[in-house]
């Protein structure tokens, strides 16, 4: 069962990755027991048997239970249309937004959410036949009142989160702010200290740019420590 790449080697679509009985991870496909990459990305073998490619670019495709950060683009009769940075527009029904049943003939939906509002939402249904259905009826979800919004490429989201949330928890701890990462590549940073909040935004942009660097968490941590020492933040 030969493997034709070294760990984290850059591969292009159509590159032969391996032959034999391996499990298929993301962004690979197989023909006659041969496994090929389907995107431009970094090839990896996990647990000695799963072959996967981490893409370098790509759009966000919704998945059920994903937390996303969206922007209201339209207000309908009983729902809102939400831009979730994806080829598919999300929709939020009144019943998924308000805790009490309301008479939609009497109330103005714009009073709750208006065009341009930012919300943190969760995908509750999406099957490629219909647009993704969102909810904001859980704790920590809902309209965003303050903070800074960063937009990064959706494929870099796992890097910002880090291994088991290592990167994000380090940022939160060191910069004393709360970070909500939407799987669609939008990240909300809220902190008591505005300078630290903006510093976190800059660091997230940097993580996106240097996503391929190994030991990035430590590097970012050192930058924060240095900035703190110099009294910048």
């Amino acid at each position: 069962m030969p493997v034709f790449f070294t760990q984290r080697q850059i591969v292009a679509p159509g590159d032969l990755l391996a032959e034999g009985n391996y499990n298929l991870g993301n962004n690979v496909y197989s023909i006659d027991g041969k496994i090929y990459s389907s995107v431009l990305g970094l090839a990896e073998i996990r647990e000695g048997r799963i072959i996967t490619v981490i893409p370098l670019k790509g759009c966000y495709i919704p998945k059920v239970n994903d937390i996303v950060i969206g922007k209201v683009v339209d207000v309908g009769i009983a729902s809102w249309l939400i831009d979730i940075n994806s080829p598919y527009t999300g929709y939020l029904q009144v019943t998924d937004a308000l805790s009490k049943p309301v008479d939609i003939t009497k109330i103005q939906l714009r009073k709750f959410l208006d065009i341009g509002d930012i919300i943190v939402a969760k995908v509750i249904a999406f099957d490629l036949m219909r647009d993704p259905q969102l909810t904001i009826k859980e704790s920590k979800l809902g309209k965003v009142e303050r903070g800074s919004l960063v937009e990064i490429s959706p494929v870099k989201v796992p890097r910002v989160i880090g291994k088991r949330g290592s990167m994000i928890s380090m940022l939160e701890r060191e910069l004393d702010c709360e970070i909500i990462v939407g799987q669609n590549g939008r990240i909300l940073v809220t902190g008591k200290n505005k300078a630290r909040e903006l510093f976190a935004v800059r660091l997230i942009k940097m993580i996106e740019k240097e996503a391929h660097v190994t030991g990035l968490t430590d590097k970012i941590k050192n930058i924060i420590i240095k900035a703190k020492k110099e009294g910048v933040i």
Partner: protein, 243 residues
């Protein structure tokens, strides 16, 4: 029509000094356009072509969307200044046809079923033309699609093979195309050894066609290597400075 020029000299070299089985010089740059999701720029001999890819994105008008897969849309367009005599910027019959042909050459390589109800748009702008633009367009479009992060079975590479003064020649330029006996554009997914485009214009025997396909395959392999180098170099070392 002007008098037919000599396409092959006594030494067996072509009008631009190439051997019969020699490609024009090819240079591919990736990610040249900031606002496109993926882009590529190819210089093949005197051809200069820019390709932009957008998507998968929401399709407008909506009724054109397909419930089970993405729609691939291609626009091949020649700039008015791309040829010696000014070309009207309106899409000509030829451009409409080439758009379709290029779309059909690229379609088998894409996993369109992964993005139902969306569209993937490919814009091909020929800035300077010197024969074989459809093949160069396919080569560059495949690179731009990969740069956009769109899942593909393989890259698609293309080259035209033709017959000039009775001999089979690789990668025809405009003069050879115009005065040669045959012009056969071939596009392939080289890794999978599948042909996605095969056209033929002119007269050729079956034996010659076999020779043509062999030569095309050899040329496509060289182009395929360049495509991969271009894609990978964008992310390795100083590749960032390209474009």
């Amino acid at each position: 029509m002007k008098e037919k020029p000599i396409l092959l000299n006594e030494e067996g070299l072509r009008v631009d000094g190439r051997k019969l089985d020699e490609l024009r010089s090819i240079e591919i740059k990736v990610g040249v356009l900031k606002n496109a999701d993926g882009s590529a720029y190819i210089v093949q001999g005197k051809n200069k072509i820019m390709v932009a890819v957008y998507g998968p994105r929401e399709l407008h008008p909506r009724h054109l969307s397909l419930p089970d897969r993405a729609v691939l849309r291609c626009r091949y367009h020649m700039a008015p200044f791309s040829v010696p005599e000014r070309k009207s910027p309106a899409p000509s019959r030829r451009e409409v046809e080439l758009s379709k042909v290029i779309r059909q050459a690229l379609e088998p390589a894409l996993f369109l079923e992964m993005f139902p109800r969306t569209s993937i748009d490919v814009f091909i702008e020929v800035l300077q033309a010197d024969g074989g633009t459809r093949c160069a367009s396919i080569t560059a479009a495949a690179v731009a699609l990969a740069d956009a992060g769109i899942p593909m079975r393989d890259l698609v590479a293309a080259v035209a093979v033709g017959k000039i003064d009775g001999k089979i020649a690789l990668d025809l330029n405009h003069l050879e195309d115009q005065y040669g006996e045959a012009d056969i554009p071939v596009a392939m997914m080289p890794g999978l050894n599948q042909i996605t485009l095969l056209q033929a214009d002119g007269l050729i025997t079956i034996e010659e066609l076999k020779e043509v396909l062999e030569l095309a395959k050899a040329g496509i392999m060289q182009i395929y290597k360049k495509q991969k180098e271009a894609l990978k170099s964008k992310y390795i070392g100083s590749g960032e400075e390209l474009g």
